[in-house]
């Protein structure tokens, strides 16, 4: 095969750095005529917790959806666990080890709590057991026979998160999981994320609540108008606080 010199050879592409779980190059995403993402570059390494910060409408949720191929059209490159997915149908992408928790939580009203929990198929073999998930979120066990959408917002969020932990996904894409929840539940979710990080899971988190994200995240990407405008490492936070405020402040 003839390839231009600047594209990595097939051999290199098949043997990516094993610590690189997610690598996004020049990602563009479109809904119909609207061009939402304008060439995003992101990489997330094994065991890292990386956040996407930005104002509403800056393209953070769309970035997660574009990774899952849930947008109208996308171009560029999205490599998941070493596999290029840009031309893959949506239903095959999860099986590379991705778990997606959507902003609206996506709890199914036609299923009860336990059916919701058991719904997503296993994508890898070493997921948490149902017992383990009930141990982390005892509320879900109490309410396992309730209709999924009868749960409180916090319980629904636990269910949406617990559901993808069962599948064995080792890269989690979490969209605004603290939105609209009481402080005590936000704290609980923070503990769970720390636990997942300890276990070596890789997390890309879209978050509005910077105070929630700052203590647990390794790096932050700041988005504006469908571009990545800044990358901030955890140890640079103090020095760049003012800059972040200009990007995120209202």
């Amino acid at each position: 095969m003839n390839q231009p010199a600047n594209i990595p050879s097939a051999q290199e592409a098949n043997h990516p750095n094993s610590w690189e779980k997610l690598r996004i190059d020049n990602l563009h995403a479109f809904y119909g005529e609207s061009h939402i993402l304008h060439g995003i570059d992101i990489n997330v390494n094994k065991g890292e917790l990386v956040t996407l910060l930005g104002r509403n409408g800056s393209g953070r949720s769309t970035t997660l959806k574009a990774i899952m191929n849930m947008v109208g059209r996308r171009t560029g490159s999205v490599v998941v666990n070493g596999n290029e997915t840009i031309n893959m149908p949506a239903h095959k992408i999860a099986h590379l080890g991705l778990g997606f928790c959507p902003e609206e939580r996506g709890i199914f009203s036609s299923l009860n709590v336990e059916e919701n929990l058991l719904l997503p198929p296993h994508v890898r073999s070493d997921g948490m057991s149902v017992e383990e998930i009930y141990e982390i979120f005892p509320n879900l066990y109490e309410r396992r026979t309730s209709q999924g959408t009868r749960l409180s917002g916090g319980e629904q969020q636990m269910l949406a998160l617990g559901r993808i932990l069962r599948t064995g996904a080792n890269i989690l894409l979490l969209d605004e999981i603290t939105e609209g929840l009481a402080p005590v539940i936000v704290q609980k979710l923070g503990e769970v994320l720390s636990l997942l990080k300890e276990r070596g899971l890789t997390i890309l988190l879209v978050e509005q609540n910077f105070r929630f994200a700052a203590p647990i995240a390794d790096r932050h990407y700041v988005m504006e108008h469908g571009h990545i405008v800044e990358e901030v490492h955890a140890d640079e936070l103090e020095a760049k606080t003012e800059l972040l405020n200009t990007y995120l402040g209202v």
Partner: protein, 292 residues
């Protein structure tokens, strides 16, 4: 004036239950296709007729008996449905529901027209299988074996289908796939494949009903269009898309029709539509439907 002829009453009840069995099978297929895929399949009656004709032709030209036809015909009709979904309905899946309704209505007319052209509109007869000939004398009525079989077999198939959709993992995929197909794809489930198979299954139920009907009703090109309007009324009464509602309403309306035939025969062809009007006025989502 109130001396009730039990023999006649039970006779009409039995006819009602038989008709109800077919209503249940056909409305169940429609409810699955509508409830899970949001497609109003007007071709369901034509596919029921197709099932009866395939059974008739398979027996006449290939010697395939009734019992084999009960398996083979639903598979054939299901395959026709799968081709329909894949090549005709999917391309217009994102349009208004009216498009798929008109498309399937057109297909129904084409299928019915083709069979009328080939076989004429007079009915053909299909013999009751040897094993189910004869019957039993019960206290108030004579119960032919084949009629008892229709009721048992349809109730079993309907219950099995209900169980599969409401109580199993596969059913959970179907229900969740209806609610949020995009998220199901993101979980790694091949939703378009599930849609195609579900459509095939809903249509296969019509094929099954066709084979069941061949020995009791005459096999004719217009058998589907005659029953379909009633079946649509039943789906509306039961609640569009309610699986259990379609089954219970199908059987129930058969009985209501049978009773009407006994007490006031003149109204027997109208009574279901009367019930539909009353239900729509009092509970627009149908007896078992969820209020939107």
């Amino acid at each position: 004036m109130f001396d009730i002829n039990l023999f006649a009453l039970f006779g009409q009840l039995l006819v009602g239950l038989i008709n109800g069995s077919f209503y249940a099978l056909l409305s169940l297929g429609l409810a699955i296709i509508f409830g899970l895929l949001k497609i109003i399949n007007f071709a369901q009656g034509a596919l029921y007729m197709l099932g009866a004709f395939i059974a008739f032709l398979a027996l006449k030209y290939m010697g395939i008996n009734y019992w084999a036809a009960l398996i083979i015909v639903p598979v054939c009709v299901g395959l026709v449905g799968i081709l329909m979904e894949r090549f005709l309905i999917r391309p217009i899946a994102n349009e208004d529901h009216l498009y798929s309704l008109l498309l399937t209505f057109g297909l129904a007319l084409i299928i019915q027209g083709a069979f009328t052209h080939m076989f004429g509109s007079s009915g053909l007869s299909y013999a009751i299988p040897e094993e189910l000939k004869g019957g039993n004398r019960l206290p108030f009525m004579y119960l032919p074996n084949y009629r008892a079989w229709i009721i048992i077999a349809s109730v079993a198939v309907c219950f099995g289908t209900w169980y599969m959709i409401e109580k199993t993992k596969l059913g959970a995929y179907l229900r969740a796939g209806t609610e949020n197909p995009q998220l199901m794809q993101a979980f790694g489930i091949n939703v378009p494949l599930i849609v195609t198979l579900t459509f095939g299954f809903g249509v296969a139920l019509a094929g099954f009903a066709g084979v069941m009907a061949a020995p009791v009703y005459s096999v004719s090109p217009d058998m589907g269009s005659n029953i379909l309007i009633v079946v649509f009324a039943i789906v509306v009464i039961g609640g569009m898309g309610s699986i259990g509602g379609a089954i219970l309403t199908g059987l129930g309306m058969g009985v209501v029709e049978g009773l009407t035939k006994y007490f006031y025969p003149e109204a027997s062809t109208t009574v279901i539509f009367l019930v539909m009007v009353i239900v729509l006025l009092l509970k627009p989502a149908g007896l078992f439907g969820k209020e939107a």
